[in-house]
């Protein structure tokens, strides 16, 4: 099989899996295992692509009869490969976790089917070679992931799902305008061709296109002020799906933004026009806002969701600073945050699975009942704060460097402040888990249980899960992904120059020329 066909196979395989899951009357257990097998296969297939990508070959593939009139166009370069690697890796781990976690949920087959469809959408977005294919897959992904958000079918889930869907549609409409207008101006939609196209002027029309892209992708990436669907949608999904939503789907919004900045508009154009400033400012606001609100969240998953808003701000900031170091930091953070946030969500899910607790104020001494999970959580949380030698530190370092080199040192201050705020909302969880609350030096920043503190959280309270009788040891299928992701952050921090992290350098080389 020609290697250029591999991306198409990778995209189509999950769709077929999803259809089979819906239609074939296997047992749910069998369907889950089949999905897991396919996801493992996808990861392997991707690794088969790695040599070609690393050698600098850009694999392109066009399937004209599909998606007329422009045809389905796929392209693999360093950035898209990196993103698909993230997608496939996180999805595999999440599926392994879900194998066990979903056993206690309803409508298991439906979960696997729509998880596969969403996966296909994400892979299609990442591999898309032109804006038309990109847009089709992006819309498909946004739409289908709705089913993951509302999976538990609680009233809160439906409320979150409505917001998610409408905002996804609105974002899609902005993107549709931007894509059609780009075609109108450029006469082409292929990313390769668009790199050599420069927008004719800096007038209102071009600006409206830029702004529409920012709004469309900003909604998806959870950029303030378009973020308000996120704190409801991510917690309300089942935990493996939360990991996917926060760890992967948000990145697709950032990836879209990256393509727009790098390919559609181009770095020199944006530098001259100064429009990227808007994104930089909004990203800065996201960074601080997300962290501040996370501090007062008692619900663990909600706290993680606000943290995602903040962390996505890092990535968007890195993209909009338009310097090599910042871009490197942004791309690296796409990788790192995916690892970290997925690990955190899966750990939070493990806690809920085993003890039924989902509030930070209830997590006292949980480290004694679940030491390995909480150890992984600690490592991952420290990575989020940005402590060396963990992965988060490397990406933040380069982001800060990029800010200073780009002549915007104020953003370095934002990054430092945010790290401090991150500590304020992650470390208390860790200390609560392992130490008695009263003995903790961070006592002043603890979130008090609602009876003591009165209303402090800004969001709606999710109905508490019925406490499960203390389940036996966390199943290995659930523990392994959590530990792997924590190990991944450690690996990322210790060996940032080795593949796959070295791909980030390839990306920067491609756009800054060495």
């Amino acid at each position: 099989m020609r290697i250029t066909l591999l991306p198409l196979v990778i995209i189509v395989a999950p769709v077929i899996t999803g259809l089979l899951t819906l239609l074939v009357p296997w047992s749910e257990e069998r369907k889950a295992r089949f999905s897991l097998f396919v996801h493992a296969f996808l990861l392997a297939a991707l690794l088969a692509l790695f040599p070609a990508v690393h050698a600098g070959r850009s694999l392109a593939y066009k399937l004209a009869p599909l998606f007329p009139p422009y045809g389905l166009s796929l392209r693999v370069d360093a950035l898209s490969f990196l993103v698909t690697l993230v997608v496939a890796f996180i999805w595999f781990l999440s599926s392994l976790y879900a194998l066990e976690y979903m056993r206690h949920e309803h409508h298991i087959a439906r979960y696997w089917a729509f998880s596969n469809f969403t996966l296909s959408g994400c892979l299609g977005v990442a591999f898309a070679g032109d804006l038309f294919s990109f847009f089709v897959f992006f819309e498909f992904m946004s739409l289908i992931s709705y089913m993951l958000v509302i999976h538990t079918e609680t009233p809160a889930a439906f409320r979150a799902g409505v917001k998610y869907l409408y905002l996804g549609i609105i974002g899609g409409l902005f993107l549709l305008y931007a894509v059609i207008a780009t075609y109108d101006l450029a006469g082409t939609l292929a990313f390769d061709a668009l790199r050599s196209f420069t927008f004719p002027d800096y007038g209102l029309y071009s600006f409206s296109i830029f702004l529409s892209y920012v709004v469309g992708f900003g909604i998806k990436a959870g950029m303030v002020p378009l973020h308000f669907w996120l704190p409801d949608a991510h917690p309300v999904a089942p935990s493996p799906a939360s990991a996917l939503l926060s760890g992967v789907l948000l990145k697709m919004g950032a990836y879209g933004m990256a393509r727009v900045f790098l390919d559609v508009f181009g770095l020199s154009y944006l530098a001259t026009s100064g429009w990227a400033e808007i994104v930089a400012v909004l990203a800065g606001i996201s960074i601080i806002f997300g962290s501040l609100v996370a501090i007062v969240q008692d619900d663990l998953k909600r706290r993680l969701a606000y943290s995602s808003i903040s962390q996505m701000g890092y990535i968007l900031l890195g993209l909009s600073l338009l310097t090599p170091a910042a871009l490197y930091g942004a791309v690296l953070h796409i990788l790192n945050h995916a690892l970290m946030k997925s690990g955190l969500f899966l750990a939070a899910g493990a806690v809920m699975y085993r003890t039924g607790r989902h509030k930070v104020s209830e997590l006292d001494n949980i480290g004694r009942t679940m030491p390995r999970t909480m150890l992984a959580f600690t490592i991952t949380a420290l990575a989020m704060v940005g402590i060396p030698p963990l992965g988060g530190f490397i990406s933040k370092w380069y982001l800060g460097l990029g800010a200073v080199v780009g002549g915007r040192p104020v953003f370095l201050f934002f990054l430092l402040l945010s790290s401090f705020l991150n500590a304020l909302y992650y470390l208390p969880i860790v200390t609560r888990a392992f130490f008695n609350r009263a003995a903790c030096p961070f006592a002043a920043f603890q979130v008090l249980p609602p009876e003591e503190a009165g209303p402090t959280s800004l969001g709606t309270e999710l109905p508490p899960l019925p406490p499960r009788p203390l389940a036996p040891e966390l199943p290995p299928a659930m523990l392994f992904p959590i530990v792997s992701l924590a190990a991944g952050t450690l690996f990322s921090g210790l060996y940032p120059m080795s593949p796959p992290f070295s791909l980030a350098a390839d990306v920067v080389k491609a756009y800054f020329g060495g």
Binding site: P65, L66, F67, P68, P69, F135, V136, E139, F140, L143, E153, F158, V162, L165, Y166, I169, I170, G172, L173, F174, L176, Y177, I180, A181, Y183, D184, Y205, S208
Partner: protein, 478 residues
Amino acid sequence: MFLLLILVLAPALTACLLLFFAPPERACWRLALATSILVAVGALRLLAEPRPRLLFDYRFTPIVSLAFVMDAVGLLFSLVASCLWFFTIIYSHGYMKHEGRIRSYLAFLILSLGITNGIALAGNLVTLFFFYEALTLSTFPLVIHRRTPEAMRAGIVYLAYNLIGATLVLLAIATLAGRVHKVDFIYGGIIPPGLFTRAELVRLVVLFVAGFGVKAAVIPLHHWLPRAMVAPTPVSALLHAVAVVNAGVFGLLRVSAYVLGRETLNAFNLAPLLRWPMVVTIILGSIWAFRQDDLKRRLAYSTISQLAYMGLGASFLTSGGWTAALLHFFNHALLKITLFFCAGNLAVGSGKTKVSELLGVGFHQPWTMGAFAVASLGMIGLPPANGFLSKWYLGLGALEAGKPGFLAVVLISALLNAGYFLPILFAAFRSRPTSPPSLSEPPLTMLVPTLVLALSCLVFFFWPHLPLHLSSWSEGGA
């Protein structure tokens, strides 16, 4: 020539047979079904014929002639009508079990098929007008089928609006014929430059837009359409989502491209006369749809809004806009008929006709609501449903014409569509019943056409070659 007989005359003959010879009911169904199959096959066969082609021409006077032509646009309409009629006959078999006067229903339904094909294949304005009027008359008995006081009132409104509209069209034709001395359809228009002043052309365009706009449900001439929802659902589906309203749009398309022509419209800046009523219709139609609790009425206002997309596309006077108009002509027919069939399924399966009653119905009728979901996606314009491509071309046409504001109109309308379709889906799949729900889907004769049509909405997203091919053919001078 032979195909013309099949497409136009055979249905008329069948109708006469049904009306005058009063065969038993089962024979009526068989006859109707056979005729619709024959016509559908005939229309598909037309695809293989070289085009354009003059099929028949009989001149009464130098100007007044009965002419039939087969070109890309006419073929598109004929295909849509003929194929969807077949599905409707099958659907009717299940739906009309609870209604009476089957013979007259089938007779006029089949007759309307022949007349619609007559409109599609008409080679000049006079022929078009003749069949256009005939369509109003042949569909009137279908509107008043149930003979309730509300139906009779709706029928009167229907007749009044349509006959006035037809009169306006006749006035326009007469004005045109008097000066140009011919009424044929030629791509690019038949008006020699310098013949009319702008004021005269404005009058002509207004007459045509108003005249055809009645059937095309342009606001403020749309009132007959929501009221006509008292008809049995297959009638609403076919006639008022596919045939009658499409005939109005077809008339507008013929006039804009084949009578007046892009150049004339451009030179005298007449396109706004078409464009602004369309914009008003798009926005107001969508807004009014929100207020409708009756499901069929909500679909009626949605139709009103969506039809204007086609007129808007044509009014851009660009290649993208024209493609959008034809593509949406095709797509909307499929989508809307699916939606109406779903409405009929809900009425027959669960007895529900109002949006407010639909809570949880998705668990009792999952297939129907699944089809409804697919068609809703198409109406909103989301992949992987076919409506997405129409919106794409519409946007492209707007930008080609240098009017990005109209692209905003299309996008806002898409959002409004989401606003009145999504809540139906949300309500249908909320509040899962605690015990396994009983399936209450309607009989297969109703369910299978619904599902096949919903599936086709997905298929035509991936393979829209047929309407796209026809639209590019039409611009190539067909």
